[in-house]
Each structure stands twice: as structure tokens, then as C-alpha cells.
């Protein structure tokens, strides 16, 4: 087994090629899998995702991957959840009614506010590059996947909902959109969620992927 092995969970939502290529570019040996045994044996796992929350949970349920991911997380091995993947980490989501999530990080997924703090109409989804800020000025990024990231680095976002952790310490980085603070990176133990796409965020994103494959 090489040091930089990564398994991407393939549950039929979205294009996995870009994530795979980003990780390979950083030096990882990447495999795609929807097999619970393979996933549990992996060194590191990426949970990708685009689309709607209920449909993604349905797909994970159908493939019997919900308990697999929960079990994998309990083993304390690194798990990186990207975009909708990050939202799936939470207890529940308000997208199309209330749907239960993986429950790995306490909190809820809610819609991005439709008006700015100046009460102007806000464009939804939030698409584009936003600067990463620190959620807790008192704690740095040294222990997280953002160790090599600078405050102010830009990342590429595409989302209409946001994951709000119940515990402030789980919030690592935010972006400001329409004056609102929106969680960009959340983390608990070896589990990290990225609302943006590190595989589409240029060198700043690749630095995060490099960090992930080297822990």
C-alpha cells in the first residue's frame, strides 16, 4: 500500500473525473468505488457530490453506503467531503423538505439567504470565486487541511444551500456572500467538509488536496 492512496466514493452523482485528476496531479493513487468493503479498507476517502441532498442520500442508502461512511469515520481515517458531500455530513437538510444526513458533524443544511444584509436581492446559487476567511480568529488553520492555505486565498464555489455546524469549533473557514458569513470549510477530528471545489480552485485548491493526501 502506497502512502497516498485515496478512494473516491462513486455513488452515481456528478462527475468524478475532475476530483480524481486533481488528486492524481497532487501525487495520489486514486480509485473509485461503491463497494462498502473496499471503502472501509481505504486509507483515505473522498465523498464528492453535486445535485440535490435527498437524491444523494437516497443513492447512498440504495448502495448501503450510509453505515459504511459512518463506520469509516469512526475508524478515525481521513474523510474529505466536497460541495454537496460536505452538506451530507450534517444531521439534516432543509432542501426539498427535511432529509436526514450522515450525522457526522452536528448541524443543519439551510438555504443561502435570498437577500443581502443590505436587503437587496441576492443571486442564488452562489457561483464563483470567494476569499477564504477564518471562522474563529482565535484558532489558526495549522491543524486543519488549510494548514498551507493563506487567509484571503480564493476558492471556487457553486451552491444554493449551506451547512451550518451546531458547534462553533467545527467551523474552520467562512466566505462572505452578500454580507452573510457562509461556512466554507468545516472539520471534526479527521473529517473535513469543503463547500467549494478544491479540484476547481487552481493552485489554492490543489494545496488543500496535497495536504489531505499527506495526512
Amino acid at each position: 500500500m502506497t502512502l497516498h492512496e485515496v478512494t473516491i466514493i462513486d455513488y452515481g452523482v456528478g462527475n468524478l473525473l475532475s476530483v480524481q485528476r486533481g488528486l492524481e496531479h497532487c501525487g495520489a493513487k486514486v480509485s473509485l468505488s461503491s463497494d462498502p468493503k473496499t471503502i472501509l479498507k481505504s486509507e483515505r476517502v473522498v465523498l464528492p457530490g453535486v445535485g440535490a441532498f435527498p437524491r444523494a442520500m437516497e443513492a447512498l442508502h440504495r448502495l448501503e453506503l450510509i453505515s459504511t461512511i459512518q463506520e469509516f469515520a469512526q475508524l478515525g481515517k481521513p474523510l474529505l467531503a466536497i460541495c454537496l458531500g460536505m452538506q451530507l455530513l450534517m444531521d439534516e437538510s432543509e432542501e426539498f423538505g427535511l432529509t436526514k444526513g450522515l450525522g457526522l458533524i452536528p448541524g443543519r443544511v439551510v438555504a443561502i439567504p435570498k437577500i443581502t444584509i443590505e436587503a437587496k436581492a441576492q443571486k442564488i446559487p452562489h457561483i464563483g470565486w470567494s476569499a477564504l476567511r477564518s471562522s474563529n480568529p482565535n484558532s489558526g488553520w495549522g491543524e486543519s487541511l488549510l494548514r498551507d492555505t493563506q487567509v484571503g486565498d480564493y476558492a471556487y464555489f457553486v451552491h444554493s444551500f449551506m451547512a451550518l455546524p451546531a458547534i462553533p469549533e467545527h467551523r474552520i473557514s467562512d466566505v462572505i456572500y452578500g454580507g452573510h458569513r457562509i461556512p466554507a470549510v468545516i472539520s471534526s477530528k479527521q473529517i473535513t467538509g469543503c463547500q467549494f471545489h478544491p479540484e476547481k480552485s487552481g493552485e489554492a485548491g490543489l494545496r488543500i488536496l496535497r495536504r489531505f493526501i499527506s495526512i
Binding site: R21, I127, G152
Partner: protein, 234 residues
């Protein structure tokens, strides 16, 4: 085809622009619909190998399957124009399958009167009789997540963007608008981004022929107080 010039391989240009700090790339096969072809897949697949920013692919996408193929090859968004005019339902079908964020509606606009523009297709060759502002609203209602507005009158002139056109479209819709056509110098972005509030500008030959570059363009934007991505080149 007359009037076209080959200036190099798309992927060499793409990689260079990625390394120089482009925020997104748009691949457009401008004559695909005319020839009824769709073979951008290979170009897209090879771009996905070493380019780690979003990219949009357009030209010749006529069905949900075409869109699926392009997205599977690693594109983030598909741009549709001609096919949407002949079958507006296609916008909804692609949006339903892959999400609105993956559907960019490309609109070629030609001015036909004061404050009035007509939608063209096939790279400015065919008129449709559709009003640009009405069409933009219809496309958004049908699920387009972004609009790419190209002024046919300005395209290739280097006279600057059609600021009035872009401003009217921005006020008409609630999705991001990308202004295209006519960029001659870095300062041309200021009126279209700053004054009328376009979300992005698309540029082609100003870069292809190296009349300017990203650092010069970003400098102009930053000095004018526009929010653009700052990055380090590594």
C-alpha cells in the same frame, strides 16, 4: 470556411491561460451547429487532465446526451445557443438532469434599434426574430443558470463591450451575466463590470494575440476597486 484563422491548439492556449490565472475557461466550437458536429469531447477530456479551474464547453450541444457526454469528459458547464432556440425545453431538460448551475445560455445579440437587440444563432449567421431581453427572461425561467451575452456588433471590433446591452440584460434577469464581444484593452472591463454590474467578462483575441494579459487586466480591475481574485502564480 472563409474568414477563419487557425491560431494554435486549444489545449496549449487553455493550459497557458490556466497557468496565467484565468478564473474560468470557455471552449466554444463556433461552427459546430453549422456543420452538425459535436466532437469537443476529446479536447475537453484532455483539458481536464491538467486544468484545475472551471470550464464551460459550447458548440453543437443539441441533446441531453450531448450535454452528459461533455460533462462526463470533465466540463463543469455546457453552453447552448442554437439548440435552445429551436427547442427551449432542452434548457429545462439539461437543468433538471445536471442542475441549473451547469447550463449556460449563450445569446448572440445584434442591435436592431434603440435599446433593442435580436437573437442570432450559428455564430451570427442566422436571425431568429426573438428579442434578446425577452429571450433572456424565458431562458432563466426555463432553468438557465448563467447567461453569456455576446454582442455581434462588437465582436472582433476591439471597440469595447456593448455596455448598454449588457446593462439591460443584467437588469432583466437574476442569474450571473457574462459579457462578451469587443474587448480591445484592459480598461474596457470597467464600464461593463463596474457601471452596469455584469458578473464576469469573457475575452478571447485580446489574449490570443497577446495584446494584453491577465496581470495587466487584474491590475486595472483592482485599481478601480472591483473585486477580482488575487492569486499567486506557482
Amino acid at each position: 470556411m472563409e474568414g477563419l484563422r487557425i491560431i494554435g491548439s486549444p489545449n496549449e492556449f487553455a493550459l497557458r491561460y490556466y497557468q496565467q490565472g484565468a478564473d474560468e475557461l470557455i471552449y466554444m466550437d463556433t461552427v459546430a451547429s453549422l456543420y452538425g458536429r459535436n466532437h469537443l469531447g476529446e479536447i475537453v477530456r484532455s483539458a481536464a487532465m491538467n486544468i484545475f479551474i472551471p470550464f464551460t464547453v459550447g458548440g453543437g450541444i443539441r441533446t441531453v446526451e450531448d450535454a452528459r457526454d461533455i460533462l462526463r469528459c470533465g466540463a463543469d458547464k455546457v453552453a447552448i445557443n442554437t439548440a435552445a432556440v429551436s427547442n427551449p425545453q432542452l434548457i429545462t431538460e439539461i437543468a433538471r438532469q445536471f442542475g441549473s448551475q451547469s447550463v449556460v445560455l449563450s445569446i448572440e445579440a445584434k442591435q436592431i434599434g434603440v435599446g433593442k437587440w435580436e437573437v442570432y444563432t450559428n455564430n451570427g449567421r442566422e436571425k431568429t426574430g426573438l428579442d434578446v431581453l425577452e429571450w433572456a427572461k424565458i431562458c432563466v425561467a426555463k432553468g438557465a443558470g448563467e447567461l453569456l451575452i455576446t454582442s455581434i456588433d462588437r465582436e472582433g471590433t476591439r471597440k469595447g463591450f456593448d455596455v448598454e446591452l449588457v446593462g439591460e440584460v443584467v437588469s432583466a434577469v437574476s442569474v450571473p451575466v457574462i459579457a462578451s464581444g469587443g474587448m480591445g484593452k484592459p480598461g474596457d472591463i470597467l464600464s461593463v463590470l463596474g457601471d452596469v454590474g455584469a458578473d464576469a467578462v469573457a475575452m478571447a483575441d485580446i489574449l490570443h494575440y497577446e495584446r494584453s494579459n491577465f496581470s495587466a487586466i487584474r491590475k486595472v480591475a483592482l485599481e478601480a476597486g472591483l473585486g477580482v481574485r488575487e492569486y499567486d502564480l506557482t
